[in-house]
């Protein structure tokens, strides 16, 4: 790409370019601030997702081993009854969350107000663990979705910041410099011409 913009070498154009440079710098500064904050949010989410994934992986092993144990001791009907009760009583609210213009899906899990008491202690513990794991999996999904959306927005913003920093602002700046040089050259030519005309007139008067 050319390092100069194609403009007419006029003073009006120079004023317009100066205004454009000011605007481009302003946008660049804001986008850079936005990028910094988006990257911060992204890193926080990455750490959150890492911790959640670890927790989910660890808890899944416990929940599954407990489920198999209960299944073998109490049989299919009772285990299924309590595990299905776990799912039915939970309420998930799905909505949007807006992180500085980045829309991500958010899910909130509402705890059931009344939880049926179990006569068997192990089943109660299993149900608690199952609720926790569902909550963690939902949190993990939410966080990973946010990471995905934030990542895309970071890429987009970075492209804009780079385009401004390495292409647009230097182009405008170079064009302004070129126009200034052109005007200075014109001025010098004008001065030289005037001197020449003056000398010519003086010579004529002297005759």
């Amino acid at each position: 790409m050319s390092s100069l913009l194609r403009v007419r070498p006029t003073k009006i154009e120079l004023i317009r370019l100066r205004k454009r440079l000011q605007l481009a710098r302003k946008v660049h500064r804001i986008l850079r601030e936005r990028l910094t904050i988006l990257v911060n949010e992204f890193l926080v989410k990455i750490r959150e997702a890492y911790a959640l994934r670890r927790e989910v992986s660890e808890n899944l092993v416990n929940v599954y081993s407990r489920a198999f144990l209960l299944y073998s001791v109490y049989g299919e009907n009772i285990t299924r009854y309590y595990s299905s009760a776990t799912r039915e009583k939970l309420r998930a609210i799905v909505g949007l969350e807006n992180i500085m213009g980045v829309k991500t899906t958010t899910v909130r899990l509402e705890k059931p107000e009344y939880v049926e008491e179990t006569l068997i202690r192990d089943l109660g513990v299993f149900r608690e663990e199952a609720i926790n794991i569902i909550r963690n999996i939902i949190e993990l999904g939410k966080t990973e979705k946010a990471i995905d959306s934030l990542g895309k927005e970071i890429l987009r913003t970075k492209r804009k910041v780079n385009a401004l920093e390495y292409t647009l602002i230097p182009q405008i700046w170079n064009t302004i410099r070129y126009l200034r040089m052109k005007f200075e050259e014109r001025e010098r030519e004008e001065k030289a011409r005037l001197k020449r005309v003056k000398a010519l007139l003086e010579r004529r008067r002297g005759r």
């Binding site: 403009v7 969350e97 500085m100």
Partner: protein, 134 residues
């Protein structure tokens, strides 16, 4: 082509703050909702975490619950230097300074990047960042 460029730059400034809410309800108003949410300028609804509202209520107390407007606006202004932000709302500034454990002597509260990161981690849905062109 240049006019398009200028238009694109101006549009960028215009859309950068479209995640601001139409109306900022009070903390008490949001706490009384079954599902707390706010409507943003781009037309979307933004769900608010109840735990964050409860945290704010703990710090604000019963009296300030009517005065505190949610979301708390953190203003990024190049005039304050790079990485600095300002909270102009007096009620919010007093509560945020308590949460962050920093000194507050009235007026606007100036915070820096580590504070912003901490604040966003604690109050993800109840704070929002706006960018001022300066």
């Amino acid at each position: 082509m240049e006019d398009y460029l200028e238009k694109a730059l101006r549009d960028e400034l215009r859309i950068i703050n479209r995640h601001l809410p139409y109306r900022r309800p009070s903390l008490r108003e949001l706490m009384s909702m079954d599902i707390p949410y706010i409507v943003l300028r781009d037309g979307t609804t933004h769900l608010i975490e109840r735990e964050e509202l409860e945290l704010l209520y703990r710090y604000a107390g019963d009296e300030a619950a009517d005065k505190l407007r949610i979301p708390v606006i953190i203003e990024i202004n190049p005039g304050y230097g790079e990485g600095a932000a300002v909270i102009r709302d007096h009620v919010a500034a007093a509560i945020i300074s308590k949460i962050l454990g920093i000194e507050y002597s009235g007026g606007e509260l100036i915070i820096y990047m580590p504070h912003i990161t901490m604040l966003r981690r604690l109050l993800r849905t109840t704070t929002t960042i706006i960018f001022m062109p300066g």
